[in-house]
Symmetry: C2
Subunit: 156 residues, 2 copies
């Protein structure tokens, strides 16, 4: 995967957390996902498709991290992954992908976004059925870590 | 959602199960998904995006149904939802969407497909974060039922 793809999403994640949740996140080193398994409590997933490439973005949170982010965004105390929280996960997924889409379109790279889905359920597993490697970027925050998974297939 | 969207996916599901798994499935009445929750053991999910519309398809199976379908497709006995089975769920999701895409493109309706994801984990829940209603079509087979969820947003 091109470094500019990864950087566009990485930049979008940091921008959105900083502006929407006043939260600093520290990105770790992007890695190729070996076992194709991210376990978390809630995942936002969105498809991207266009003439030049197709892909999927998944953002997987544990409960403490997504509660902390949502609390900061809404300024209210939350105890459970309820509709408010899954709405926020869908919205964050949309915003991150929209942000990256804007950055990449300025580089002449265009795609359209599908509708975000949110998956919940303890220890659910999301597997991307791509012929290409999956890149995972861990982000650490004061409330814990979350993971961004990215897969892209460029059309030849 | 337009009836021709639903019918295109319904036709694609029946065609693929019949030709690939020699399995008859009986579609139930399409319904608006009230609680936005399909519980299953494994779900194939794919995004669709284009200038005219964006959407998501989810196919949710219980373990007995997907094992029966995979066994018929591969002609081997399976006991667990392993990599072979999740590969098959991804492939089925791809084939159904590809089939529906072909039918709809003949009606002048074009979209591109994202990369399929497969979600596993007991009682996981998939929520589509769309402003439009989600249509769910139950299918019954000799091995049990499975569910196709479809959401589409047309651009104005």
């Amino acid at each position: 995967m091109k470094a500019e793809f990864i950087n566009a999403f990485l930049t979008a994640v940091l921008n959105i957390l900083s502006t929407m949740a006043r939260m600093k996140a520290k990105p770790g080193t992007p890695a190729i996902k070996a076992d194709q398994i991210a376990k978390g409590d809630v995942t936002g997933l969105i498809g991207m498709a266009g003439d030049q490439a197709r892909g999927t973005l998944a953002v997987t949170f544990t409960k403490p991290v997504i509660l902390a982010i949502t609390e900061r965004m809404l300024d209210e105390k939350l105890d459970e992954i309820d509709d408010t929280v899954t709405d926020m996960v869908g919205e964050l997924t949309n915003m991150v992908t929209g942000g990256a889409k804007k950055i990449l379109s300025e580089k002449g790279f265009r795609f359209d976004m599908a509708i975000p889905s949110v998956i919940s359920g303890k220890d659910h597993v999301v597997i991307h059925k791509s012929k290409n490697p999956i890149v995972v970027v861990p982000f650490s925050t004061e409330a814990g870590d979350f993971f961004v998974e990215l897969c892209f297939e460029q059309m030849s």
